[in-house]
Structures are given as C-alpha cells and as structure tokens.
C-alpha cells in the first residue's frame, strides 16, 4: 500500500465535515419553523389540559407574565382571562422524584383551587413511578378541585407520611415529590395572587 500524503487525509476529512455540516445546516433551516410551531402546539396542549377551554377567551400561551419564582428564578405564568378578568393561571412546578426532577404544569383558578396537574417531563422508572403520566394512570387527576385548605395542610402528604394521598405500589418517592410540588405550587399562588390575577 502506498502511503498517502497527510494533506490528503486532512482534505478528505475536511470535505466530509463541510459536506455533512452543510446538509445539517440546511435541514436545520428547513425544520426550524416547523419545530418551533410544534413546540408551541405542545405547550398549548399541555396548558389546555390544566385550564379548561371554557374558562378563557384568550390564548394563555401568548398572555403570559413573568414572576420571580422560588429561589429567585424567573417563572412564566400563563394566564387565562375571560371578559378581561383573570379566571385561572398555569405555571410550571418542580418536584424531586426517584430519578431526578419531575416537571409539572399546575393550573389554578382565581380562587386558588387546582384546575389540573400534568407531568410534562420526568425520568421516573417505567412501570412504577411513571404512573403519574395520565396516559398510564389517573392518579394525577385526583388533585382537581383541591386547594391549600382542602385537605388541611397537614394532610397534604402521601399516606405513608400521614397524609391523605395514595402512593402507588412499589413507588412512594414519586408521589411524595408530586404532592409536595403541588402543595408548594399552591402556596406560591397564595403568596403571589395579587400579581397573578391583576389585570393589565
């Protein structure tokens, strides 16, 4: 085998990098708009699950305000308004699960009652902790209608901790994280209610 000069290898590698780089850049340009639209639809869908459509005549995705959430992080609050009055808000809450963070979307009406909770992102064990997913169980729907006083504060826990919420078989940490996150989310609403429902 004859030895090829080094520059040839460099040129071959460079040519392939340039070629595939160009293809990827082109694909990115072609798909960017569609991907952004899909992401917006996803957000709309997850909001629609926690804020009933009858509750608003605006688009909560675009009618959003930014508050300072816990730990000083900015928190986007999506607001549902009807006839100019805020009827409900939705925002993301975080719970700590068995396998890292559980991201949930919490919908609350103007009186502080839960409209709905949905897990948007989690890495819980398939077949165990992932029962918080509405596609795999109705556990997550039990929060609807509850508020910070209903049940009383010391019952806002899973049964194992003396509260009223069922854990599911084989998994306690996941429900505990979700229940805690919803409780804190409601407390956040209680302390920020004026800013959230204020009409601008």
């Amino acid at each position: 085998m004859t030895t090829q000069p080094t520059w040839l290898h460099a040129a071959v590698l460079g040519a392939f990098c340039t070629g595939f780089g160009a293809i990827l850049a082109l694909t990115d340009v072609l798909t960017a708009d569609a991907i952004a639209a899909r992401a917006l639809e996803d957000k709309q869908n997850s909001l629609a699950q926690v804020i009933p459509p009858g509750l608003h005549d605006n688009n909560p995705v675009t009618d959003a305000i930014t508050l300072t959430g816990e730990h000083g992080k900015p928190l986007t609050v999506y607001r549902a308004t009807k006839g100019g009055k805020v009827t409900g808000v939705a925002y993301e809450i975080l719970g700590s699960g068995y396998a890292g963070e559980i991201r949930l979307m919490l919908g609350v009406d103007a009186e502080g009652r839960v409209l709905g909770v949905r897990a948007t992102q989690h890495k819980e064990t398939p077949g165990l902790g992932d029962k918080i997913d509405p596609a795999k169980g109705d556990w997550i729907t039990r929060f609807s209608g509850l508020s910070l006083d209903l049940p009383p504060k010391d019952k806002w826990k899973v049964k194992k901790d003396g509260g009223q919420f069922d854990q599911f078989s084989g998994a306690t940490i996941t429900p505990r994280g979700v229940v805690g996150a919803v409780r804190e989310g409601l407390a956040f609403f209680a302390s920020h209610r004026p800013q959230m429902v204020e009409v601008r």
Partner: protein, 224 residues
C-alpha cells in the same frame, strides 16, 4: 464478488445478530428494553440510521482514506442521527414524542459503526444497504424480545403503550399477562437488562449447538 443476499439476511437476523452474537450495541440494549414497545421503537430508529449510513459509506468508500475512516464514519452516523432527529421532530411530531428520547442514543451504539467498518467499507452499495437494513431488523427483533421478557416478568404486561407508538390500530397488541398489579421489579431495573440479555445469548447458542452449527463469535466489543 457475487453477493449472497441470503447470507446477509441470515447473518443480520440470526447467525451474526448484532446483540445476540456480536454483543454490540449493549448500551441502548440495556437502557431501552424496559418494555417490548420501547425495544421495538429503539430498534426501528436504529435500523433506519444503519441502512442510511451503510448506504452512504458504501457510496463514498472510494474517497475515504484508511487513516481518517473512523472519524468519517462517526461523522456520518452522527449526521444521520441528527437528520432523523430534526426531520421527525418537525414532520412526524407524534411519533417523535415517543421515539424522540431514543434517537440521540443511537450515536452511542457501536453496531452501526461496526457494520460500516466490517461491511460497508468493503462491499458495493446495494449489499451494504441490505446489510444495514437486516442488521437493523435483527437488532429490532433482539431488543423487542429482550424487552418482552423484561416486561412480562417485571410489569406483567406485554406491548403496553404500543398504541402510543404505532397508532390506535395496534391497541390489540397491548396485553396484560399477569393478574398482579406489579411484577418482579428487578427485571425493569438495570440488572434485569443484563439478566435477560445474558439468558437470551445463552439461549441462542444452545439453539445453534443443537442445530449443529459452529458458534459464531463476533469481534470482541471494544466499545459498547
């Protein structure tokens, strides 16, 4: 050289199966076989990438010099994975929501890279495409089988959520095998992956022995 397509098909599906004989691609095999549906989804996404990258390498093999072939192969596999990822996210979004998390994992799979080096770098375009395709299908079958074993023992179901991946028409696949609410948890957790895959490899070798075949041992996996 006359190409024997029957050998390519046999090799991919059974004789030299990526998981059960070559023991390549163990990382996604362990990670994604918690259920038969997950294993199937990972397998299909991998098969697409393998067919495409085998095709590309076989097409350009005259231009790829020996010294830089590995970076070029990795570049091609990574580019294909990104391409599939972006395209599915944009135009097959429902499927992407289910398969999306598997796709980046394909880059960490040594099976596509192995087939590029062993097959596509030396063979013409069409056989290479077939090799990628059937190695991919073999991979899919192995992952689905391991996933099924882990799911039946671990969760007591089979093909749960298949309708999320394949559409409502496949609802009939979803089965509840065990009356219990939960199964043997360890099979869903990582150790179960090693147990299930190990027994399947042994099972394949026993079947081959019984059939009087010499046991095909693949190249030792230097990466998994």
């Amino acid at each position: 050289m006359a190409t024997d397509y029957r050998t390519i098909v046999r090799d991919g599906l059974w004789d030299n199966n990526g998981v059960l004989a070559q023991l390549l691609g163990m990382c996604p095999t362990m990670a994604m076989t918690t259920s038969a549906t997950n294993g199937f989804g990972m397998g299909v996404a991998t098969a697409v990438v393998m067919a495409a990258s085998n095709l590309l390498v076989a097409t350009f093999r005259g231009y790829i010099t020996q010294e830089v072939r590995i970076p070029v192969y990795i570049l091609i596999v990574a580019a294909m994975v990104t391409l599939v990822d972006l395209t599915m996210n944009a135009w097959m979004h429902e499927l992407y929501k289910v398969l999306g998390l598997f796709i980046p994992l394909i880059v960490s799979n040594c099976l596509p890279l192995g087939r590029l080096e062993v097959f596509a770098a030396k063979e013409p375009v069409l056989p290479s495409l077939m090799d990628g395709l059937f190695m991919g299908i073999g991979f899919t079958l192995a992952l689905t089988a391991i996933g099924a074993v882990r799911e039946i023992i671990g969760s007591g179901t089979l093909f749960a959520d298949a309708s999320l991946l394949l559409g409502p028409a496949f609802k009939f696949l979803e089965m509840k095998v065990s009356p219990l609410d939960s199964g043997v948890l360890v099979m869903i957790l990582p150790p179960g992956g090693f147990l299930a895959a190990g027994f399947m490899v042994v099972g394949k070798r026993l079947l081959d022995l019984r059939a009087g075949k010499a046991i095909a041992t693949g190249p030792a996996g230097h990466c998994v």
